[in-house]
Symmetry: C2
Subunit: 356 residues, 2 copies
């Protein structure tokens, strides 16, 4: 496997990218070549500084970097030699199997959709973002922000892509797919999700484990593998949940540092707090695959540290080795181009309830 | 002030409602009559059990209770003698100044919109929900779930209602209003929010402190007083944030009870954890006013304890004493029926940035 890493991307530039690359090269022998895309002088200096030398590393020159202030599409159209553009070009041209970037999310989405195009049967790419989930370990939200103003067919495609990813990457027989809504009752939803509900329910006889409407809290607590929503809703939700976890952590820190006595006790409990952080932190879960493009694109968090970059590279390895894209095409064929079986088969496909 | 409390509403029935009533009667002498609406026998028994007797309490009979499984509108149409219906009737008929309910949110919204109707100039009611906010103490999300498929004019009205509430109840000169979006740049948004952005920006010269687009995380951390969004988005966001805080608390508890040693240390830090809980918990902030109806309706959390009910009653007192509804009508007049001043005045109305 050949992976192109946008080595300049993210809030902290090459430092966490190269440290994460070192961890991934040690952990994943499947990586035959890791392309570090960016400014060669900076990358060589950082490689030397951390003492990383591996014959699988190859530096690819990209003279520009997309700034977080750049508009997404303009950045890709104007900065043709940016690290994210060059890394994505490598996938488009068949020189790499995947691109991983912690840079400007909008630019990474624009680069992939403009350069790689979408898979047959998929109209819009979707960002699949992992959440810590108490029942299933992880639950993926799709779409976390690639596509706003989704039409019903877009959300149905997102559902099938998420289902396919979990089925093949996690080896689950029939992942549970929930539809994000403003209440768990079947009647809840807006105009778009009500239509999506009907279409996903109609796919139950074809073997889709559609569990019905779910709520924001279900993402973290209920036995659901995939939560489907429009990218506007998903982005607001993702940032709200992240913000809540951070606010909680800050409130906790403020209380635990309010006196010398509390500081002392808190120091003794450090392993416990580290355990919570590991469980609740995005770093543990890796990046977010951009599903539906004709190539493998993994978007990492802008403030990724080395562990997060390593886990994003792990996701690239998994997407390639489990052949996520060919399986998405199969799912489209199976669920969108098959006739719905007669209602007599419905009993076999009773959905697993999300709400125990 | 005469307040009708749906004494049967909520997950735990009369117990927290009456305990909260006792706290509120002690704290708010402005309450001249507190109507406890529900099944008289159950209410009298509970009053006796907790030893609450106050000449300001009056029991009003309502023989039915809306079940959480009932559909909202059907519940109001069919259970005409439910506690929430009877309590809302009292406001409609001028026998009470406000209704407070921890029962079925949809039923409370339906009862208020069907019985009280909306204020002049307001097409849709909106649920205003407080979030703990590090910069401003509290930030209100509107709409947290009353109205899905909002049109731009609905969101503009929600913005004005939220602004009016904070201005008068919190005595802020010019509250900061943000528009919930999928990114903080002006260009971000979906079709509806882009239109809302333009309309709110056009009201800056009239004195509206519209700070532009905000993200989910800003609710908890940025200097913004009101966050505006569609009720579908707001409901998903609210439940996602609540779910995250609860998941964080459970993860913390699991770590802190993993050994006898940790349990001991955690016991010594109990006041610190209680501090975090107080700060992050909805109980502290009270209920959610349903703004835009011709009356005062406060919706409390279904799992409200006595403190939460007390704070919801406090919100009713505040909405009445600060004359929120007449001020909403004034705001509609000022912002929606005034000509926009010429651009020369724009400099005076430069918005306060949300993003320091």
């Amino acid at each position: 496997m050949r992976i192109a890493l946008d080595a300049m991307g993210g809030d902290f530039g090459p430092v966490p990218n190269l440290a994460g690359a070192a961890l991934a090269l040690a952990a994943y022998p499947q990586i035959s070549t890791l392309y570090l895309v960016g400014r060669p002088d900076e990358l060589r200096a950082e490689l030397a500084r951390i003492g990383l030398s591996d014959r699988r590393i190859e530096i690819i020159e990209a003279t520009e970097v997309v700034d977080m202030k750049d508009s997404a599409v303009n950045a890709i159209r104007r900065k043709k030699n940016s690290s994210i553009a060059v890394a994505t070009d490598m996938v488009r041209d068949g020189r790499a199997d995947a691109v991983v970037s912690a840079g400007h999310t909008g630019a990474a989405v624009a680069a992939s959709t403009l350069k790689l195009r979408t898979l047959q049967g998929i109209d819009r790419a979707g960002i699949l973002t992992p959440f810590p989930n108490e029942a299933h370990g992880v639950c993926y939200l799709i779409d976390a922000g690639a596509n706003v103003d989704s039409r019903p067919e877009h959300l149905v495609q997102q559902a099938l892509m998420g289902w396919t990813y979990v089925k093949h990457v996690h080896g689950k027989t029939n992942p549970a797919v929930g539809l994000m809504s403003n209440g768990e009752e079947d009647s809840k939803g807006n105009d778009v999700t009500k239509e999506v509900f009907a279409r996903l329910a109609a796919m139950r006889p074809l073997g889709l484990n559609f569990t019905g409407n779910i709520e924001g809290r279900d993402l973290l607590a209920s036995p659901v593998d995939v939560a489907v929503c429009d990218g506007f809703v998903g982005n607001v939700l993702l940032k709200g949940c992240e913000g809540t976890a951070k606010a909680f952590a800050r409130a906790l820190k403020a209380e635990l540092t309010a006196s010398v006595w509390r500081k002392l006790l808190a120091a003794l409990l450090k392993p416990a707090f580290r355990g919570v952080h590991t469980k609740m932190s995005y770093e543990t879960y890796g990046g977010s695959p951009l599903l539906g493009v004709n190539g493998v694109t993994i978007i990492a968090h802008g403030s990724s540290n080395a562990t997060a970059i390593k886990n994003a590279l792990r996701m690239a390895v998994e997407s390639i080795s489990h052949r996520v894209n060919p399986h998405i095409t199969e799912s489209v064929e199976r669920f969108l181009h098959s006739p719905i079986p007669p209602a007599g088969n419905l009993a076999e496909a009773t959905p697993v309830s999300t709400h125990a």
